[in-house]
């Protein structure tokens, strides 16, 4: 790559903004110019060589090199120190169990949620506190955006053409937050997945977005979790059909009530698995196949598909319900419906 410094300096910032829009690289928001020198800084911060490849990305089978990831991370507004997390997010999304091919093409509105865990999270600028899933934090905003730009520019995901989302989702601009490990009564999510507490990790999940659960009077786990279960079991859910993982984000104040009753994460998962149920007769009204219940081949075999009074779970086992602690003060938790694929966690090593 060569650069012409005089041509660059003669280009007004406003002109550069328009040039970058015209390039076709943008998600609709302004881009930071990916000057080759800046991209090189990002490559170095990744600890890997520019040509290193993570494989090919659907749908266009583009070669996912560190240099391509770095270029998109620069455009997203990341800092060099964010590169290891961005690279790990891309790597996680390429796991076949995540089903990126479907996620990038589906009419369903799911986006890629990224959650950060580990001791470096705060130093890197991520937040899991107040408004963690909202605006106002550079690391959260730009790392989530970098992943989406990689999908567009490396994977060839184009809204309206290969990305056929009927409505789309604002989370497709960016959706990244940290787990609030400091206020969680339980082990961090990545530790539950088998990583060490001193590891840093990203988790990706094909999420619709946070559906709020208001409970201003949480007194004990069951009455509170019944509300979460009611959000999980609804007749519009994609997961009636596709099952897969579910994601529950508990506010610290809600988590504290549950933990005070000496409930473990596995207790929460079992409760939700038992109570987030749909009546088979209601499912027959809609879903994907209505009364043709023989077509729902992903449902557990132990559920009688022909009995209108049978109780249908929204996933195949309690462990499919992922529970984390996120957010600041307040009594609002969230259920995040999904596409029906799997959460994937990958470790990363912060730049030295």
């Amino acid at each position: 790559m060569t650069s012409d410094v005089s041509a660059r300096s003669a280009t007004a910032p406003s002109d550069m903004t328009e040039i970058l829009y015209e390039s076709g690289w943008s998600d609709g928001l302004p881009l930071v110019p990916p000057y080759v020198e800046r991209v090189q800084e990002f490559v170095e911060a990744s600890g890997r060589s520019a040509e290193d490849s993570l494989g090919s990305m659907p749908p266009n089978n583009g070669d996912v090199t560190i240099e391509k990831i770095a270029t998109n991370a620069v455009m997203a507004g990341c800092l060099p120190q964010h590169m290891p997390a961005v690279v790990a997010s891309v790597e996680a999304s390429l796991d076949p169990r995540f089903n990126l091919r479907a996620l990038l093409a589906t009419t369903h509105p799911s986006a890629t949620m990224v959650m950060i865990n580990g001791p470096a999270s705060e130093d890197l600028g991520f937040t899991g506190g107040s408004s963690a899933m909202g605006p106002g934090n550079r690391a959260n905003a730009t790392v989530g955006r970098a992943l989406q730009l990689v999908f567009r520019n490396v994977g060839g995901s184009l809204p309206g053409v290969t990305d056929k989302a009927t409505l789309g989702n604002p989370a497709k601009y960016s959706f990244c937050f940290a787990e609030n490990e400091a206020e969680s009564p339980w082990a961090p999510f990545h530790v539950e997945q088998g990583f060490a507490p001193e590891d840093n990790a990203v988790t990706v999940y094909a999420a619709e977005g946070p559906h709020n659960l208001t409970n201003q009077v949480p007194r004990e786990p069951m009455s509170f979790l019944k509300g979460i279960a009611s959000l999980m079991a609804n007749l519009g859910s994609n997961q009636i059909y596709s099952m897969g993982d579910h994601f529950v984000a508990l506010a610290p104040e809600h988590a504290a009530v549950i933990a005070a009753a000496r409930w473990k994460k596995s207790d929460i998962q079992h409760y939700l698995f038992e109570h987030a149920r749909l009546r088979m007769g209601d499912v027959m009204l809609g879903g994907w196949f209505g009364e043709r219940t023989e077509r729902y081949t992903l449902w557990p075999k132990w559920v009688d598909h022909t009995d209108p009074e049978a109780s249908l779970p929204v996933c195949r086992e309690p462990g499919d319900i992922k529970v984390v602690v996120v957010g600041g003060p307040g009594k609002h938790s969230a259920y995040l419906p999904g596409l029906g694929s799997r959460c994937i966690t990958r470790a990363f090593v912060p730049a030295s």
């Binding site: 410094v5 690289w25 000057y35 749908p59 089978n61 391509k68 091919r101 589906t106 490396v154 056929k164």
Partner: protein, 180 residues
């Protein structure tokens, strides 16, 4: 990348497609052949394929049909299913590209079968034609044309049977037309 962009010292964030695919030979005639039917699990795809198979046997001399089902329309077919088709069938009909993820996966499945030497007619609804075409181009098979059919998810069995009768000639043409 546009020369103007590289002259400004900008790195290129775009990766080019890398897939290399081969076009399977078409069969001279469907008479005496075994036809694979790939049900991608989309609404009523099984009903449409069953009727297509009946017509191919009754009117085109097809010896037998073999139907296999994917777990989900939004997942690519398991390699063992594709391998079985390649070992037991002369051609395949795949139904149906009628959503975003299933279009991406059906194009992929069809081209995997073509790579295995099995001519494959993939069915697609008009709304998803632009997606089908770009996916085929990304896969290195810009020439891969679908057989067009109206959406079937909310149609009755009788309506689907009519659609099957209407598109069978196009399916036969895709599977038998001369190479090149």
């Amino acid at each position: 990348m546009d020369e103007r962009l590289s002259a400004l010292g900008l790195a290129n964030p775009v990766a080019d497609p890398t897939a290399v695919r081969t076009r399977a030979d078409r069969v001279p005639t469907l008479s005496g052949t075994v036809v694979g039917l790939l049900d991608n699990h989309k609404d009523n795809a099984d009903i449409l394929l069953t009727r297509i198979g009946e017509i191919l046997k009754a009117e085109y001399g097809v010896k037998d049909t073999i139907m296999r089902q994917k777990f989900l329309p939004s997942m690519v077919a398991e390699p063992r299913v594709l391998d079985e088709f390649a070992q037991t069938c002369d051609v395949v009909v795949a139904s149906i590209a009628d959503c975003g993820s299933c279009t991406s996966c059906l194009v992929h499945d069809g081209l995997e079968l073509e790579d295995r030497g099995i001519a494959t007619a993939a069915l697609c609804t008009p709304v998803f034609l632009n997606s089908f075409e770009l996916h085929a181009k990304y896969e290195g098979r810009e020439d891969y044309e679908p057989v067009m059919v109206d959406t079937i998810s909310t149609k009755s069995s009788e309506e689907i049977a009519d659609l099957a009768a209407a598109i069978v000639p196009s399916i036969v043409a895709v599977l038998t037309k001369a190479d090149g």
